[in-house]
């Protein structure tokens, strides 16, 4: 995801056109042309020019049969196969399209009479009774969900991630694009995680779209860190430490969002590591578990395993860091190939890890690994 992606051949920019091959104006144009042709046929019939009428009529039929039809397989162009009777599509476009369809079956034989029927059907519009017989087409649940998310400004990150993830998984192209737009909105802090998921999506169109949205989210994350940096510059003492902590958190968020270019992410991690180091050293009694854990995580990501191990062990020993820090320490030990220490870690924290593996059975980042280690480790 980090390498610069070449311009995608998939047309993703801009609002997508609805995939109706035949717009309402197109149907109206065809109908008007056919009406004119059939009027000429009537004139020829009235004058007794049978051959001219026949030729004109055949021309009309040919024009009707060769008209552009909605392409099958696109959303909205056809009812789902297997449904005997889908709900009728009764919009203006649906009605004129239906008139054209019926005209295709009747015009070849009935000629001007069918044309008159079509004009009458167009003039009368959709019968009120039919509207009542056929209720409005049920709303697409994914569309409803997207609409609800778009309206709710404040949404828990997990819920946002899950909902938009569903859309990315089950939705069609337009819905996926809409979900990514929502995820990239400035107010959605959880959207970055979704974008990272979308960058490795199986659908190349989704990948291209996410790649297109990535720079703006990256810029926003870096801008947020820059603003905090400017705020922290002139302060000292307790206020300075608070500002530093906020800046370090923002840098962590940007660096671990997975949306930054690798050099920038590395720079962010280095800066965050320095800040966390300073915070951990400045901590007085009891130490600063958050700073140590975050420092260890950054050092782990930067590849400095011994320092990361020291920081994480300090955080874990304080006991306030939680399962995440234990997970990072386990990863650190694993990468350092110190399996004896890893096993000792698992044995030491077994009750906590068991609870974690049970609680976050599906979503926890380390749950599967914990389950494996817990199963393997001697009791």
């Amino acid at each position: 995801m980090a390498s610069p992606v070449p311009p995608s051949p998939v047309p993703v920019a801009g609002p997508r056109r609805q995939p109706h091959a035949l717009a309402p104006e197109g149907a109206a144009l065809i109908l008007a042309g056919l009406a004119a042709g059939q009027a000429l046929v009537v004139v020829a019939l009235a004058l007794g020019w049978w051959l001219a009428a026949l030729v004109l009529h055949l021309g009309c039929c040919l024009a009707l049969l060769l008209r552009p039809t909605p392409r099958p397989g696109l959303p909205g162009s056809a009812p789902p196969a297997g449904l005997l009777r889908a709900a009728p599509r009764l919009g203006e476009a649906g009605w004129s399209g239906a008139v054209l369809r019926l005209l295709g079956a009747t015009l070849p034989v009935l000629g001007p009479l069918a044309m008159l029927g079509a004009l009458a059907a167009l003039a009368l519009g959709v019968p009120r009774r039919l509207r009542r017989v056929a209720p409005a087409q049920p709303e697409d649940p994914l569309d409803a969900r997207l609409e609800a998310i778009a309206q709710a400004r404040e949404l828990p990150e997990g819920l946002l991630l899950e909902s938009l993830g569903d859309v990315l998984r089950w939705g069609h192209a337009r819905q996926k694009a809409c979900a990514l737009e929502l995820a990239a909105e400035p107010g959605r802090s959880g959207g970055a995680a979704l974008l990272r998921l979308a960058l490795s999506d199986a659908d190349p169109a989704v990948r291209a779209r996410a790649e297109l949205l990535r720079p703006q989210v990256e810029r926003r994350l870096l801008d947020a860190a820059e603003a905090l940096r400017a705020g922290a510059r002139g302060q000292s003492g307790a206020a300075g430490r608070t500002a530093q902590r906020a800046l370090a958190r923002a840098l962590d968020r940007a660096a671990f969002s997975g949306l930054l270019e690798p050099p920038r992410a590395a720079a962010c991690r280095a800066e965050a590591a320095e800040l966390w180091q300073a915070l951990a050293e400045a901590a007085t009694n009891g130490g600063d578990a958050e700073a140590e854990a975050a420092l260890g995580r950054n050092l782990l990501a930067l590849g400095d395993l011994p320092s990361a191990r020291r920081a994480l062990e300090a955080a874990v020993t304080r006991g306030a860091a939680g399962a995440c820090a234990i997970g990072w320490l386990a990863e650190c030990l694993f990468r350092a190939r110190d399996f004896a220490a890893l096993e000792a870690l698992v044995l030491r924290w077994r009750p906590l890890l068991e609870a974690e593996a049970r609680r976050a059975a599906v979503t926890g980042p380390h749950a599967a690994a914990w389950r494996l280690w817990l199963a393997e480790a001697p009791r």
Binding site: P79, L83, L84, R101, L102, A105, A120, A134
Partner: protein, 355 residues
């Protein structure tokens, strides 16, 4: 008769009743137009126009009513009706192009009308506004053109307008067919064809054997009340419906017998054929009952409906001449015996399916 699916909402009643009602009403409308324009002696042309439209349109109408399928069956039906009528009138009878074209268009438009009425029956919508509009436009056009061509042109315009408007709901719902449905669709179309044959067999065997066409056709009028009731009935258990129809038809036939002298006085029925007319009237009284039973069969076992309708067609065509061969005076009894026997057969099929 009170099974879990006894009160069934289905288009079958209206569909089967329409197989008789539609042609009869179309004949009446055509005759009225011809009379309005002062044209005499085109009864047989009109009968052929209606018959061709029914033969071609009934299978498509059944498909439209039961599967919501308009499209290629409709195109095929209108094409068959129109081309065969044009070939018949222009090629065989030597009518001028204008008249033959008008008659062919009328036949094709009536086929469209049958399909449209089938759609209306299937969707439970009323075709009456479209019919009224079509009738008005048809009368105006007929009056403008005049003559035989005007009468048929007016009929064609009215039928096309009403049929197109009635068929529109099905066109809003494109139906996708699976290949495995081909056999079921073929049986449905066959049921439509059998119904058309059952309607037409009586008049046409009379026509081909130089029998009294007018007698057989006029007698159908006695079935109108029962057929109208059947077309309007929804969700009534078939045997209860048949019983009620029998009662209604007894009244209608009695009325027909009371005024039986009127057609003879008007000159439609020759005085010596009045006895035959009465027998045909009695036979026609059973048609609504038969239609109700066939409608129930059509909803449960389509093949049974095909068999019953085919039996009526064969009996109406063959029974009279056969009886006439056995004993010269017995021939007219065929018109009574055919509906009675076919109704009995349909009842037996239905009762067998219920048991």
């Amino acid at each position: 008769m009170t099974g879990p699916d006894a009160p069934r909402i289905g288009p079958e009643e209206a569909l089967v009743a329409g197989a008789w009602l539609g042609p009869v009403l179309a004949m009446l409308a055509g005759l009225a137009l011809l009379a309005l324009l002062g044209v005499q002696g085109e009864f047989l042309t009109l009968l052929i126009v209606v018959a061709l439209s029914l033969l071609a349109g009934a299978p498509a109408a059944v498909l439209a009513a039961r599967r919501g399928l308009v499209g290629w069956p409709l195109g095929l039906a209108t094409g068959c009706a129109g081309l065969s009528a044009f070939a018949l009138f222009h090629g065989l009878d030597g009518l001028p192009v204008a008249q033959a074209l008008a008659a062919a268009l009328a036949s094709a438009a009536l086929a469209l009308l049958w399909v449209g009425l089938g759609v209306a029956a299937g969707f439970g919508l009323s075709p009456v506004p479209g019919l009224a509009m079509g009738a008005l436009a048809g009368v105006v056009l007929a009056w403008l053109i005049g003559g035989v061509a005007g009468a048929f042109g007016g009929l064609a315009l009215g039928a096309a307008l009403a049929g197109f408007l009635a068929a529109m709901p099905a066109a809003t719902v494109p139906v996708r067919l699976r290949p495995c449905e081909a056999r079921a669709l073929a049986i449905q179309a066959l049921a439509g064809l059998a119904l058309a044959l059952a309607v037409l067999a009586g008049p046409f065997s009379a026509y081909l054997l130089d029998g009294p066409v007018m007698v057989v056709t006029l007698a159908l009028l006695a079935a109108l009340p029962g057929l109208l009731l059947l077309a309007a009935s929804r969700g009534v258990a078939p045997l209860a419906l048949a019983t009620g129809l029998l009662g209604l038809q007894a009244l209608a036939v009695a009325l027909g017998l009371v005024v039986g002298g009127a057609p003879a006085a008007a000159g439609w029925v020759p005085a010596e054929a009045l006895g035959d007319y009465r027998l045909a009237l009695l036979g026609a009284g059973f048609l609504p009952v038969f239609a109700a039973l066939v409608a129930a069969l059509l909803g449960r076992q389509v093949l049974g409906a095909v068999l019953a309708a085919l039996l009526l067609a064969v009996l109406s065509a063959v029974l009279g001449p056969l009886l006439g061969l056995v004993q010269p005076g017995l021939g007219p009894f065929g018109a009574l015996a055919a509906p009675v026997l076919a109704t009995g057969f349909a009842f037996w099929l239905l009762a067998r399916g219920e048991a």
